[in-house]
């Protein structure tokens, strides 16, 4: 049997001021091995250093549900990084 591909492809969304910092609202990311939401954020923080400053005031969602930072990613997931909400 051929080795099972480990490639994980996720959609990544940025909102509010995080969208301004990242410069775009939507991206897609690929991992060749298991990864968590935390690792996904670190990937973008490395690309956009200012993003790292917001880490403590960001929450993440996975498939439209708030998710812990150690949540493992699955291929096809939609992950969003959300600044403090201010609707209403």
């Amino acid at each position: 049997m051929p080795p099972v591909s480990q490639t994980i492809r996720v959609t990544v969304l940025f909102f509010g001021r995080l969208k301004d910092v990242a410069g775009h609202a939507e991206d897609s990311a690929e991992f060749s091995d298991a990864a968590t939401i935390e690792q996904l954020f670190a990937l973008y923080a490395a690309r956009y250093p200012e993003l790292a400053k917001y880490r403590s005031s960001v929450v993440a969602s996975r498939n439209q549900e708030f998710a812990a930072w150690d949540t493992p990613l699955r291929s096809g997931d939609e992950v969003a990084f959300l600044p403090p909400v201010s609707g209403g």
């Binding site: 301004d20 439209q64 959300l82």
Partner: protein
């Protein structure tokens, strides 16, 4: 588990909200009380004159969270119907950004549910507003939604 009445209303809109229409829609003959919350654009923020606001949302998740609030208030309070409508895009001073209407046979449940709904919306629904002033625009301070601290599934027993 309560099933959501099909005639509850959860909407994100880009046009002015017709409040009278929402009130009519939640009104049932077995009810006696409707409490509404109308949140609209103030003319100032932190003592700076606001020109207008610009709202954006993570729309699919915002609607899911609005429905979740509806489910919660149906579970917690003896209410009949709920309408939760949030407007997006550019809003001028005095324009309604969020409107919530809750009908119930008795007023206490309607008050409690309406207040719970707006308090929860402001903490958990992914919507953001940018405040536009004469000398620039800033994202409004907001509230960080409560999120699970860690995922049990990520730590399987070894």
């Amino acid at each position: 588990m309560v099933t959501l009445p099909h005639d509850d209303i959860y909407q994100l809109v880009r046009e002015p909200i017709d409040m009278a229409a929402q009130i009519r829609l939640v009104r049932g003959p077995e009810d006696g009380a409707i409490v509404t919350f109308d949140g609209f654009v103030r003319n100032q923020s932190h003592n700076r004159a606001t020109l207008y606001l610009d709202y954006e949302a993570y729309e699919s998740m915002a609607l899911a969270k609005m429905r979740e609030i509806g489910l919660q208030i149906h579970e917690k309070y003896s209410i009949h119907r709920v309408a939760i409508v949030h407007r997006l895009g550019r809003l001028e001073i005095g324009e309604t950004s969020v409107f919530i209407a809750v009908s119930a046979p008795h007023r206490a449940a309607a008050f409690d549910a309406c207040r719970f709904a707006i308090d929860t919306l402001k903490r958990t629904v992914p919507i953001w507003k940018k405040e536009c002033f004469e000398d620039g625009a800033v994202w409004a301070d907001g509230e960080l939604p409560p999120v699970p601290a860690a995922t049990p599934r990520a730590k399987p027993a070894s």
